[in-house]
Symmetry: C2
Subunit: 214 residues, 2 copies
C-alpha cells in the first residue's frame, strides 16, 4: 500500500468512527461512548479504534468537532445565500428546525445533550461544548445586529434575540425527544417568525416608532 | 426502640438519602448515582442505602419524586395566592427563575438534566420525567387559558404560551450552567414579562382588537 493511500484510508476510518460515535453520543451520552462499543459496532479491534484518537477525551473532542461541522453544513450553508439581517435569520431558523426534525438526528440535538451532560464537569470537553454554543449565539446575534441596523427588527438587543431563538429550539428539542410531541417544531417556528416579524407589523410603513422589545 | 420510632427514623433516613441523591443527580446524572457513592457520602453501609429502595431504578424514581415535590414547594407555593390568570403566571415565572438562580440548585434544573439524560432510554424513569414535565406544562397552560378567558392575553393558545415560557427557562438554565452567563435569568425574565404583557400594551383600553400572537 502506498503511503498516500494509507493516509487516505486512515482518514476515512477515522471519519467513520467519528460519525458513528457522534450518532451514538446523542443517545447514550458522550461519557457513555466506549472504545469497546465502537469497536464492536464497526467490526474493528479496540486497538484499531483507540489508535486513531489516543484517549477517550480526544475521541470526545473529535466527536464535538464532527457535530459542529455537520451543524454548519446543515444549518449555516443553506442560509448563507440569504440577504444578511432578518432574511438570513429566518433562513437560519428554518434550516435549524428542519435539521433538528430530520431523521438524521434520531437522538435529538447533539450540543444540547452534550451541554446537559458536561455543564457540571470542568475540563476541555465542557470548554469545547461551551465554545461551540457561544459561537452559534454570536452568529445569531451578528445577524440580529444587522437586522436592527437595517431597521428590520427595532429596539431589540442582538444578544436578547439570539437568546430567545436558541430557547425555542431547546424547547422544541425537549418536546420532540422527551414528550413525543409532533407539534413542537411548528410551535417553535411560529414563535420565531413572530419574534422576527411582529416589530414591523406593529409600525406599518414607518408611520409610528416601533415598540421596544426588551 | 419502639416500632413507631423505628418507622419515623427509617423515613428520616430515606429522606436524607433522597435529598442527597437529588443534589448529586443534577451534577453527575441520574444514571451516575451509585449506591456505593451515596453510602460513602452519608457514612452508611451499602446495604443500609439499598435497603430503603430495593433497586437503583426505584432510587431514581424516588429522586424524581423528591425533585418534583421541592419544585412544587419552591415555585407553585409562592405563586398560589396570586389571582388566577396573568398575575399568577407572572408570579410562577418569577418564582421559577428565582429557584433556578438560587444557590440551592448548583447543578441547575434537575428535570432538564434528567430529561436530556433519559429521553433516549425508554422505561419507567423516562416516563416519570416526561409525566412531570407534561404536568408542569399543563399547569402553565391552564393559567394561560384563564388569562386568555379574562382578556389579559389575547389571541395566544394556552399551549403555545406554556411552550414559550418553558423555552425561556431552559435557555436560562443552559446559559447559567454551561456559559457562566449571569445575564441569563434577566434575559428570560424580560422575555417572559414581554410575552405576558405586550398584548395589552398593544391595545390600550380595548380601543383596538389585540394582535394575534400565534
Amino acid at each position: 500500500m502506498s503511503p498516500r493511500r494509507s493516509i487516505a484510508e486512515a482518514r476515512r476510518t477515522r471519519e467513520t468512527i467519528e460519525r458513528h460515535a457522534t450518532d451514538l453520543a446523542t443517545t447514550i451520552g458522550l461519557e457513555g461512548l466506549s472504545i469497546g462499543r465502537l469497536a464492536l459496532d464497526l467490526g474493528m479491534s479496540k486497538a484499531g479504534v483507540i489508535g486513531h484518537f489516543g484517549t477517550k477525551e480526544a475521541l470526545q473532542l473529535a466527536v464535538i468537532e464532527t457535530a459542529v461541522e455537520t451543524f454548519v453544513e446543515r444549518v449555516w450553508a443553506p442560509a448563507a445565500a440569504a440577504a444578511p439581517g432578518r432574511s438570513r435569520l429566518e433562513a437560519l431558523c428554518d434550516a435549524w428546525l428542519d435539521y433538528l426534525a430530520s431523521d438524521e438526528l434520531q437522538g435529538g440535538c447533539f450540543l444540547t445533550a452534550a451541554a446537559c451532560e458536561f455543564d457540571g464537569r470542568p475540563g476541555p470537553v465542557r470548554e469545547a461544548i461551551a465554545t461551540a454554543v457561544r459561537a452559534w449565539l454570536q452568529v445569531l446575534a451578528a445577524e440580529a445586529a444587522t437586522a436592527i441596523a437595517n431597521g428590520e427588527i427595532a429596539g431589540a438587543s442582538p444578544e436578547q434575540v439570539a437568546f430567545e431563538l436558541n430557547a425555542l429550539t431547546q424547547a422544541a428539542n425537549q418536546a420532540q425527544q422527551l414528550l413525543d410531541d409532533p407539534t413542537a417544531f411548528d410551535r417553535a417556528r411560529r414563535a420565531m417568525h413572530r419574534l422576527l416579524g411582529e416589530q414591523l407589523a406593529a409600525s406599518p410603513r414607518g408611520a409610528a416608532p416601533p415598540r421596544r422589545r426588551d
